[in-house]
Amino acid sequence: MRKHAWLGAGFLAVGSLIFGGPQAAAAENVSFTLKYGILAGLTGDPAPSGQGWNESAKLAVDYLAATLKAMNLPDLKVTLADSQDSQGSPQAGVEAAQKLVQIDKVNVIIGDFYSSVTSAVATAVAIPNKVLMFTGGTSPALSKLNTGPTPFIWQPVAADDIQGRVLAQVIGDALGKNAKVNVAARNDAYGNNLSAVFKEAWTAAGGTIPKFIIYNHQQPTLDSEAQETVQGSPDGWLFVDFCQTFAKLALPLSRSGKWDSAKSFGSDTLNDCQSRGSKNYPGMRATIANASSGASFPAFKALFEQKAKKGVNFQAFLSEAFDSVFVAFLAALEAKSADPAKISEHVVAVTNDPGTTYTFQQLDQAIKAIQAGQKIHFNGATGPMNFTANGRVSALAYDIWQADADGNAKVVKTIGFKP
């Protein structure tokens, strides 16, 4: 008799799981704590951007926690375990990530925004430990690290293989497709890869590159590099570097008397150097992927300026860190679990159509919709996102930034790009 009672209870339980009660009632039983860790270069060269990345992700976690509290959902918790300093170095990044994963037991790492750091951390820490990473790194090699059935590395911004072609298109529109463009790029994975993609796209379209210079950006002076960069009577220039080190090249370029910043273009890391603790050069343009095309971007910017630590400058790409926090949570909610592998299976679902569109400003409604079993499409401050199963976004809008005579930079145009 007792055996039959157990069997009956078992059938009831299985039946309720299969046929379900009302979805909302089932969702109310969902309980998890999602632990985030932030990884960014908080000191050294990357610090001006790293501090902003850290603030941006913290803002999102705080916003999320406050929303859950206001909605009286005590079973759903989000915590920020720690912010770790990668120093922009792969080795330091791996050590920092090990702390986040092994000591703090985080489910999701927001960062790093350096491809070199992300690559090392993904290989040595995140993928072996099955922890999700939302990176700001733009190397196309990053999402290729997702070799298993479950992608753990997610790139909320278009990768450099696309950016190189966008730069070729933008420069071609400005200077003509057959123009002569000198290229100067920093000697690291980012500089080499992006400049190589540009070279291929540019020459394929009929353009020429009289001087293709890869320079060691850590040298104390870059005078001879500047000399080389202005040779060959180019119609324009492309620079792939970070603001801090580009400043060392820009000064001898200016001294040469042969450089025109208004005919110069920069990679996404040179879009607004003034906001990154360096300076802008009049007329210089730079492209940056998809960082501010979301409807909620102005609200994010306002929130950042209101709540972020004083002295930390706002930059458009910080929206990637901000969005990533919400995407991870909403995917976890839909998965009803904080298990990174299960979250990963739902990232595409919550960032693509079909589904009702929500931004972070309607986060409570998005949460209710998921709890009610409805399909949502989270639109980030960066834009519609549209993650694909390989960990990359497919919504490709690019902003073109340009510095004015006073050194202030702003978006002058946003273009769509079809690969």
């Binding site: 060691n216 850590q218 002076t221 005078d223 060392k248 001294r255 040469s256 603790g277 360096s278």
Partner: protein, 295 residues
């Protein structure tokens, strides 16, 4: 092509003389104190910010700012000598040198914390250019040239003609022999830290001015070039460091000259510096001016 050669020569001389002056201090410290001071690069960074403080905050001109930076860095070097390095004397070359790595890291992080990671620049017109037909130089470079034209021979004279300079060279050459000859090696040890600090102060300010913008990584970027200068010139040899710095600066810049078989790719400049060093040490292990020793 001639224009490029002239410009590269000037650039090489500027970099070279700064390396030479900072290398002299590091070399003498090694010769006299038997310490490979890996914090030397951070002395340059400290000097750059000390100079910036005087120049940008207190409105002093570049010469006064440089003099102030030299004084401040000399005091820092002596303070670290008395506070840390002298009490640890006798722990061996490797241990003491490793301690200087730690001092360097601490200095660098403290500077980061205090001034932040942003790039800074001296209050001089960085966009102005003196067009001298074959070469174009900035006011900052012109000041660097003027200061080094005065200071480099002065350092050489100090070492060659003054009792303190002679005593420094004597202690660097043979500490025991110098001591039994009546030279107060402790006092000379303090003087050499003062000189090394002051020259690092000069080098740091000049590098900051020549670079145009700088951040707390300034000294770390040149540390290995300074040590290359020291080894190339012959460890402990002040004259050797003076000459090696200039040779190194010129070699690195001129290697990219297009008249030199099309020129070396710029990214290989630092590689060239170390290739020169390895090549020289294979044939002359004691460096350019070092004395071969028989043990």
């Amino acid at each position: 092509m001639l224009e490029q050669f002239a410009q590269l020569t000037i650039n090489g001389l500027i970099t070279g003389t700064i390396l030479a002056l900072t290398g002299v201090g590091a070399s003498l410290v090694f010769g006299i104190q038997r310490i490979a001071n890996f914090a030397h690069g951070e002395y340059l960074t400290f000097a750059a910010y000390a100079g910036l403080l005087l120049n940008a905050t207190y409105g002093q001109n570049l010469v006064v700012a440089t003099a102030g930076a030299m004084a401040a860095t000399a005091i820092l070097a002596v303070a670290i000598h008395f506070g840390v390095l002298r009490p640890l004397r006798g722990r061996g070359l490797v241990a003491t040198s490793l301690i200087t790595v730690g001092i360097g890291l601490m200095l660098r992080d403290v500077i980061f914390m205090v001034v932040g990671p942003q790039t800074r620049q001296f209050e001089i017109d960085q966009t102005a250019v003196y067009d001298l037909t074959l070469v174009r130089i900035s006011p900052g470079q012109a000041v660097a040239i003027a200061i080094t034209i005065v200071v480099a021979p002065a350092v050489a004279l100090l070492l060659a003609r003054t009792p303190i300079g002679k005593a420094m060279r004597a202690v660097a050459d043979n500490r025991d022999l110098a001591a039994i000859s009546g030279i107060d090696v402790e006092r000379i040890g303090t003087y050499v830290w003062l000189l090394a600090g002051a020259l690092a102060g000069l080098g740091g300010t000049m590098f900051a001015v020549v670079q145009g913008t700088f951040d707390p990584n300034l000294g770390f970027q040149v540390l290995f070039l300074i040590f290359t200068t020291v080894v190339l010139g012959g460890i402990g040899s002040a004259y050797g460091a003076l000459m090696a710095g200039i040779v190194l600066g010129l070699a690195m810049e001129l290697s990219t000259w297009s008249g030199f078989a099309g020129g070396l790719e710029a990214r290989f400049k630092p590689v060239l510096a170390f290739a020169v060093l390895i090549g020289l040490l294979l044939y002359r292990p004691q460096g350019l001016f070092g004395r071969a020793r028989v043990f």
